[in-house]
Symmetry: C2
Subunit: 102 residues, 2 copies
């Protein structure tokens, strides 16, 4: 079963769009690392929050991706723009439109 | 910009997997209605909760889909298996891996 991760991160005021741009920059590397979906969203209801919905081929793929140099560099770039307030929810992905068959 | 909707719904005990199966049954209709992603997940951390992450071509597509007979029938089938406790967060989808270019 595919592994899902639903995250939010709070940005310092005025930096939300920069964080979004940074998060959107890694598509090719994500795909190569076993990521099926990495969707970034925002809401006018909370202007300093960024949502990320991720689906990976397995939890191990996700964990391994965090060790890649490109991932570490992206995290280092983002950190000064984040408050340190994160949420995360792991999910077992049952399927649905947009999810490759297992 | 694409429209996102992140929902949770609480099921009555023992009915979670039936709700998941029901939610996964509508892929073809969803695609035809302008839905890009409709991902269903669960977690052992809360065994009666179902997460749905949806991305639509627009908010109007999502609203129109709720008026389709197949959607109304699915909702009617699910309702007896749900407690009535829902959450929902609208999102502006910035993009990412798995999202078609706008």
């Amino acid at each position: 079963m595919r592994y899902g991760y639903l995250a939010t991160m709070r940005t310092v005021p005025g930096k939300r769009d920069d964080v979004v741009t940074l998060l959107l920059g890694g598509e090719d590397g994500l795909r190569a690392a076993g990521c099926d979906l990495y969707v970034v969203g925002t809401s006018d209801s909370d202007q300093n929050l960024v949502w990320v919905f991720e689906v990976w081929q397995s939890k191990a793929h996700h964990a391994a991706s965090l060790e890649l140099p490109a991932t570490k560099a992206a995290i280092a770039s983002a950190m000064p723009m984040l408050t340190g307030e994160f949420t995360g929810q792991e999910l077992d992905i049952a399927g649905g439109l947009g999810i490759p068959s297992a």
